[in-house]
């Protein structure tokens, strides 16, 4: 058992936890963050990718709308390299109630959400695949945001101010003495070692898992988990975020992000955030709804599907989960339950993570007697601004690779930026993943960085395997390069088994995301991949090729998806 001491322990490495960590660090508070998987392993890594303008919530939840509108501007300022200014449109399709549009505009005015009606012809010029039968169109300040990049940008910045980040550390217990929580007990999932962390305060930022953490201290926090499924199309069928102009419902948004466009979402209650799967009905519903916005979308090529769980805090009993206000809740357990030493922050949206962090840290700082004000809205996250000066080696999770992208790709690393780089360096031959233009150098930097446990982590770092071929070529290459780098560092003794496990794990991870949308061309592609791995490479006959999806990080605690 190892013991660590800090002032504030943040549990959860999603957008909220990372934002809280940066806020604490900027105020000079000693802090550490623990995350049971890789950063963004929870909902943050499985969200839709929309930097909300607020438009979606103006009628139904004006407070959320106001918060989104304000935070939208702040995030654009403090982390421009994580955001693509796609702009957004709300369009009235023939299937929508025409009267909503006027209410929508009036509500935008009331809540301070910027909106401007544009001619239908202008909307169609901007997005030629859009349904030509739309009757009205409104421009808003939606954007696309890379949550992987943004979360790492927050933790990297926090580290610069002395914060500590422990990934693959799962909190199994909270230490409570009388009416005070004084620390947490974690397991390091990679070494199996137990780690005790003493602290003056804990911030529970575990999203849909917040109830489970609270329960470790004997407290009750009801978080309703609402599963949302999304479908990625294999190219940017639109370059603007497209919303249906109506009350928020299933499948009414398309977000262009990186090389793909994402349709979503659904909202289905799940009893346990760790156990859910994607049903064919959901996929059908998303594509059917998508037809209203982009006629013919069903015949286009869907790449993969995934789902995340919304952490929705339930005050009393609410029956319908879209009726629970989206606004986040900060629970001060000292006031609420008479137990000091912990606060929980639940609900909200990616777009409002910074605001949630600010409010949370205000309360905790006050308890600790720290009066330094919040500065996260003013200070730009500097990860992208320091080209040559590398971050401390091996401090951060994939930070070298990320810093490099951030620099090269500022303000946003769209495919075009990488292509320009590859063309400038003449490095076609170095591409490990042709679909997403990941070079060997980028991959090696990501492998070398501390804490990378498997190819799926590398995927989050580099987008490896996320393009149309879904890992057909790069899985073998990445596993082999991993093997070479690790043998260079640790010698040959480790053998090839870890690389084999990595390879089969990654293939399995991709398969899970693929099966819900596998038909037509994408099925053909999947078959090609299968032929490569089972015929040409015969990986199923490798000594360690146990077809088990949870081997690398083989811990039930971090297997978030079923089937």
């Amino acid at each position: 058992m190892r013991t660590l001491t800090t002032d504030v322990l943040v549990i959860g490495g999603g957008a909220t936890g990372a934002g809280v960590l940066r806020d604490l660090a900027l105020r000079g508070i000693r802090c550490a963050l623990v995350e049971k998987g890789d950063l963004t392993h929870g909902t943050t890594g499985r969200y839709h990718g929309l930097l909300h303008s607020g438009g979606r919530y103006v009628v139904k939840d004006p407070q959320s709308a106001e918060e989104c509108a304000r935070e939208n501007e702040i995030l654009r300022r403090i982390m421009p390299h994580c955001i693509e200014d796609t702009g957004g449109l709300f369009v009235v399709t023939p299937a929508d109630d025409e009267s909503y549009a006027d209410r929508f505009v009036a509500a935008c005015r009331r809540t301070g959400v910027w909106v401007e009606e544009i001619a239908v012809s202008a909307a169609l010029r901007r997005e030629p695949l859009l349904n030509p039968r739309i009757s009205r169109a409104f421009a808003v300040r939606d954007g696309a945001a890379d949550s992987f990049l943004a979360t790492h940008a927050n933790t990297d910045d926090a580290r610069r101010y002395g914060a500590q980040v422990l990934t693959y550390h799962v909190v199994n217990g909270l230490e409570r003495v009388g009416d005070r929580i004084i620390g947490a007990v974690c397991e390091d999932l990679r070494s199996g070692e137990m780690v005790r962390i003493h602290c003056a305060a804990i911030i529970n930022a575990t999203g849909a898992w917040a109830g489970k953490i609270a329960a470790l201290a004997g407290l009750q926090v009801s978080v309703v988990a609402g599963k949302g499924t999304m479908v990625a199309m294999n190219h940017r069928i639109v370059n603007t975020v497209i919303n249906r102009c109506k009350m928020p419902d299933d499948g009414d948004i398309i977000v262009p992000i990186h090389t793909v466009a994402v349709l979503g979402t659904t909202d289905i209650y799940v009893p346990d955030p760790d156990v859910y799967s994607i049903t064919p009905e959901e996929i059908r519903l998303i594509l059917d709804e998508g037809e209203h916005l982009i006629p013919g979308v069903r015949r286009m090529r869907a790449l993969r599907a995934w789902a995340g769980v919304r952490p929705l805090y339930r005050e009393e009993d609410a029956t319908h989960d879209r009726d629970i206000p989206r606004t986040y809740r900060l629970l001060d357990h000292e006031v609420r339950d008479g137990v000091a030493g912990m606060v929980s922050i639940v609900g909200g949206k990616w777009t409002t993570y910074r605001l949630m962090a600010e409010e949370t840290v205000d309360v905790v700082a006050h308890r600790l007697g720290v009066t330094t004000p919040c500065r996260t809205a003013e200070l730009r996250i500097e990860a992208s601004a320091q080209p040559a000066a590398p971050l401390r080696p091996a401090i951060s999770h994939g930070s070298a690779a990320r810093a490099r992208f951030a620099i090269l790709a500022s303000p946003f690393y769209m495919l075009g930026h990488r292509l320009a780089e590859v063309e400038a360096d003449d490095s076609y031959g170095d591409l490990v993943c042709e679909c997403e233009l990941v070079t060997r150098e980028q991959l090696e930097a990501a492998i070398e960085s501390e804490g990378t446990a498997n190819l799926d982590d590398l995927r989050r770092d580099t987008r490896l395997g996320m393009g149309p071929c879904q890992g057909g070529f790069c899985t073998y290459r990445a596993a082999a390069i991993w093997h070479e780098r690790r043998s260079a560092r640790y010698g040959q003794a480790a053998g090839a088994a870890p690389a084999t496990r990595l390879l089969t794990h990654f293939l399995q991870e991709r398969w899970k995301g693929l099966t819900p949308t596998l038909w037509g061309d994408q099925l053909r592609q999947a078959r090609l991949d299968e032929l490569i791995y089972l015929e040409t490479l015969a990986v199923d006959r490798l000594p360690e090729a146990i077809p088990d999806e949870t081997i690398v990080t083989g811990h039930a605690a971090i297997a978030t998806e079923a089937g």
Binding site: P280, I283, R284, L287, R298, A302, D426, Y428, G429, D430, L431, V432, R440, F473, Y476, R477, A479, A480, I481, H483, E484, S487, Q492, G495, A496, A497, A499, T500, L503, T504, L507, Q508, R510, W511, L518, W519, G520, L523, R524, R527, L528, E530, L531, I532, Y533, L534, E535, T536, L537, A538, V539, D540, R541, L542, P543, E544, A545, P547, E549, G563
Partner: protein
């Protein structure tokens, strides 16, 4: 009027076209694109699901699984196809070795051992059962082949192997070293001399050296001979990620043999429709560069290659369709049962067994169990009845049914009692 049209230019279509050409029917091969030859490893795999010899496995399939493509044509027809295949490759001075009596275990680029029945002679020294320490050598510039990983996995299976990287001799104006580019470089004797010298230095006590399967397009046997002479060890090829140089060589060999016998290949034409009179298919419609063409035809071989080849297509509503002639597709499970939860499931994924059912003359069957067309035969991965990937019998089924279908079609019309 065409005597015979073959739809598809994969191994099954090519073998079928060869049979039709040798029967003097001057077949036209219409294909949307190249077949899996350009991707696959270039070996002929008859059976690899268990340790039985291909001959034993095939014999038992014939009795136990009457709908299996092997069972439709019988073991003798398979042997006949293999014999013809070997003769053709031999005549082209790119001989295949092996047969039905046992499988050879060849190392893959990941270091796994793959059971193979017929293999190009350039791969023969890789047979792991032959014994002898191996060096696996490659190039940093080639991102489709990694010697250290392959060697480490071989070592883990008790096969003495060591991975090394060679220095690529300086070559002007080349930046992207795919398998094809490297193969062209190996066609140059000066290039392979430099490689051969390095192999000698790196060889150590090894008696054989595995290289990525890029040892020339034109004269691979010459390349292997040169490298063996220079290195003092046996040299063999290991298939890389696609594109496949051995597959391209095989395609070239078969294409040349077909053309010599009067056949013709037209790649870039997709067959989209057929017309017939009663049980006789009379016309094929193809599309090339957006122009539709009609082909009056007496015999048709459908060899469009299943889901991977594009001959079978699915949609989001769970429909499964045969793309060229719109024949009925046999598919035993519904949409929800298409996939096993595990990618590497030993049982495979049910959707890939979908295909066109056929009788013992490989004629496509309708839902009523009778042939849809008398003058059409089906071959290769378009046939229903097996997921040949998990059996490791894909190329075996392709060449055997392709050849058998071509022979039977050639006989069609000569047998008066059969024709309408």
């Amino acid at each position: 009027m065409h005597e015979a049209i073959v739809i598809g230019a994969g191994l099954s279509g090519l073998m079928g076209a060869l049979a039709l050409a040798e029967a003097g029917l001057r077949p036209l091969v219409l294909a949307k694109g190249h077949g899996a030859t350009h991707w696959a490893s270039g070996t002929i795999d008859l059976w690899g699901k268990d340790e039985r010899s291909p001959r034993d496995a095939l014999r038992s399939i014939v009795t136990a699984r009457p709908e299996h493509p092997y069972a439709l044509i019988g073991v003798d027809a398979v042997a006949d196809a293999l014999a013809r295949f070997r003769a053709v490759t031999e005549a082209a001075r790119y001989p295949y070795v092996g047969g039905m009596d046992h499988s050879v275990l060849l190392p893959t680029a990941a270091g796994a051992l793959r059971p193979v029945a017929l293999l190009p002679i350039t791969m023969a020294a890789g047979d792991v059962r032959a014994g002898g320490e191996m060096v696996i050598a490659g190039f940093h510039e080639l991102r489709d082949f990694y010697p250290p990983l392959a060697a480490a996995n071989l070592a883990a299976q008790g096969i003495a192997a060591r991975g090394v990287y060679l220095q690529l001799p300086p070559v002007p104006r080349v930046r992207d070293f795919g398998p094809r580019t490297l193969a062209q470089l190996f066609d140059d004797p000066a290039f392979r001399k430099q490689i051969g010298r390095q192999l000698r230095q790196q060889r150590g006590s090894a008696t054989r050296i595995g290289l990525p399967a890029v040892l020339g397009v034109r004269d691979p046997l010459g390349v292997v001979a040169d490298l063996q002479l220079l290195s003092g060890a046996q040299v063999f090829e290991i298939p890389t990620l696609p594109p496949s140089v051995p597959g391209i060589r095989l395609f070239n060999v078969l294409r040349a043999a077909i053309e010599r016998s009067g056949g013709r290949l037209q790649i870039g034409s997709e067959v989209i429709r057929a017309e017939g009179v009663g049980h006789i298919l009379t016309t094929l419609c193809s599309e090339a560069a957006a122009r539709e063409q009609q082909h009056r035809v007496r015999r048709v071989l459908l060899a469009t290659g299943g889901i991977a080849g594009g001959g079978i297509r699915t949609n989001d509503a769970g429909l499964v369709r045969e793309t060229a002639l719109d024949l009925p597709v046999r598919m035993d499970v519904n949409h929800a049962g298409w996939f096993a939860p595990r990618f590497l499931d030993p049982g495979g994924h049910a959707i890939y067994a979908a295909g066109v059912a056929a009788d013992d003359r490989l004629r496509p069957l309708g839902v009523d169990g009778w042939p849809v067309y008398e003058n059409v035969a089906v071959a290769g991965a378009t046939l229903a009845g097996a997921d040949t990937l998990r059996e490791r019998s894909r190329t075996g089924v392709a060449i055997a049914t392709g050849w058998a279908a071509g022979r039977m079609l050639a006989a069609y019309g000569c047998d008066a009692t059969r024709s309408y």
